[in-house]
Amino acid sequence: MSVLNTEGLKAYYIIDVLGEKRYVRAVDDVDLEIRENEIYGIAGESGCGKTTLIKTLFGMVEPPLNVMDGKVKYKMNAEYADIFAMDNKRMREIRWEYISYIPQGSMSVLNPVQKVRYSFEHFIKAHRRIRNKEEEFIKPVERHLQALGLPVQILDSYPHQLSGGMRQRVTVALATVLQPKIIIADEPTTALDVVMQRGVIQLLKDVQSSLKNTIIMVTHDMGIHANIADRIGIMYAGKMIEEASTEEIFGNPLHPYTQYLIGSLPKIGDKSYKTSAPGAPPSLINPPEGCRFYPRCDRATDECKAAIPKLVEIEPGHKAACFLYSGVKEDE
């Protein structure tokens, strides 16, 4: 059962350069189906559109970002609702109650001039009526923090008094305090040291296993994906190019880009030479015609140049968008 799916989602940044409109095709025709009670990882080169995809899923679409096409549907009360069709009030209500968000760069998402306590208070009060502060706010929050293994004292700290890792964990705690159905996390571990990284991931995993909800997690750290994701989608230049279970992605990558990605991962105890994908990521304003990876692909054919391959199921539960495996093209 999917809790969230997208159909042909297109989200472009529209920028005006000297009177000429340019489209940054950051999310270009993405179909997703996220299931209940799973951790879905999204990986890809930097700048390929991961954050944009997440924002679109969350309905945080503000200029210059525009949704050009497609739908994002949430399953609510056994029905699917398109978030772009909701009014502001409804959208405000489902946030945090139904779907919450752990943004990229936790360093600066907490209000620097208020104690962490107030962030909790505001986020909760926005959705719950609190009559008895002690019973309905302070105690539950403290319980929540304890359950996550966080010290209660952080409530009385200012964000700058906390280390980066701690702040990131506060955002995790904030995102889970109302026990939403879906949690979206955008690179929650980047710029943390490995021990901290592990702490944060551990926390997310704990939350998921107790709430049995869905986590969508973006990171380019394949190690993290390997550790917690159930399924992984690989993005390249605004498109989803492969999607499979974690084991499949690491054990049997199909798309040449994924192969490069997996093949170049260093490991302790292994000093053999690793190569990485040649060339540079493509521009999202003028992406290559046809398959967007073909300029960097050593197995590219003329077909790759001419048409865009569609993400189709190659093996059960394993989708890829590559003409090496299927001839299905994206319809124009």
Partner: protein, 320 residues
């Protein structure tokens, strides 16, 4: 291969931090010593805030040490005062920084830095010769045409990182200090940069001080490693020895915490995260004592000396 290129002895740096009513001395780097040989890639790893960047800044002369000495080719560089000598040193020791997008002034074209470096250190004006620049760019797989008249925002992170390295190479330095050059980039870019270090070392005999907390790439690329924790080097030695069989409890924890890019190799234990960094800095004895599973009473009170165990130096009483 055996001569010491740079030798850091007993380096200590104290910062004063705090607010109006709680002002503390923070020993960000505490009696750190290590040395780097010619054509050696030396990794400095450790948790956030352990003092890695501070060490590199002191070596580069961008910060003043509180104590200790740094011998470069046998000469104490802390005493350098004259501009000429400083310049000579900088010509020999160059650096690249963590964040490629921050390395260059976003309001200037990148090529400027290349010309300036050549002009200032080699005295060669760009209008006379650009051979050195071309050569450096070739070494990182770029050409001058790729770089010309472009602002930092017009490059990808990987490209900027390469340009940054190229700039450092123009002076044909003996030592390159790379402070977390890969933390902001994705896996495939990471490898291309690290590969570049290897190549430069092999081809030009360059030494690299590679600062990172990505132990996997450290293992992949370097010869020696030092693990820092709260201002101390807790363990140092050849990278294989240290990472294959870590000795210090912190190194062990570090290694365990690495997320292996292999779904079959998931974490099986849990980590215990400690709350306050400040307090750990304040500890008298071993700063890891608060979290160490093997902690002894003495760990908290005594100065912990270094111990040598089969070619690895460890700062832990377990190895007394």
């Amino acid at each position: 291969m055996s001569s010491k290129l740079i030798e850091v002895n007993g380096l200590t740096k104290v910062f004063r931090v705090g607010s109006l009513f709680s002002r503390v001395r923070l020993t960000a780097v505490d009696n750190v010593s290590f040395d780097i040989k010619d054509a050696d890639i030396y990794t400095l790893a450790g948790e956030s805030g352990s003092g890695k960047t501070t060490v590199s800044r002191i070596i580069l002369g961008l910060l003043e040490a509180s104590e200790g000495e740094i011998l470069y080719k046998g000469k104490n560089i802390m005493n350098i005062k004259s501009e000429r000598e400083k310049k000579e040193f900088r010509k020999d020791v160059q650096a690249i920084f963590q964040n490629p997008f921050e390395t260059f002034n976003p309001l200037r074209t990148v090529e400027n830095y290349l010309y300036e470096t050549q002009k200032n250190f080699l005295g060669v004006d760009a209008s006379d010769s650009i051979d050195g620049i071309e050569q450096a760019l070739t070494a990182v797989g770029l050409t001058l045409d790729d770089v010309k008249e472009k602002y930092p925002s017009e490059f990808s992170g990987g490209q900027l990182q390469r340009i940054s390295i190229a700039r450092a190479l123009i002076t044909q330095p003996s030592l390159l200090i790379a402070d977390e050059p890969v933390s902001m980039v994705d896996a495939s870019l990471r490898m291309s940069i690290v590969n570049l270090f290897k190549e430069l070392k092999d081809r030009y005999g360059l030494s690299v001080l590679y600062i990172t907390h990505d132990l996997a790439t450290a293992y992949y690329v370097s010869d020696k490693i030092a693990i820092m924790f709260r201002g101390n080097i807790v363990e140092k030695g050849s990278v294989e020895k240290v990472l294959d069989s870590p000795k210090h409890p912190y190194t062990k924890m570090l290694k365990e915490s690495i997320a292996q890019p292999d779904p079959r190799d998931k974490w099986d234990s849990r980590v215990d995260l400690h709350l306050t960094e400040r307090e750990e800095y304040m500890l008298k004895g071993c700063k890891f004592a608060g979290r160490c599973p093997h902690v002894m009473e003495r760990c908290r009170t005594e100065e912990i000396p270094d111990f040598d165990i089969d070619g690895v130096t460890v700062k832990c009483l377990l190895y007394q």
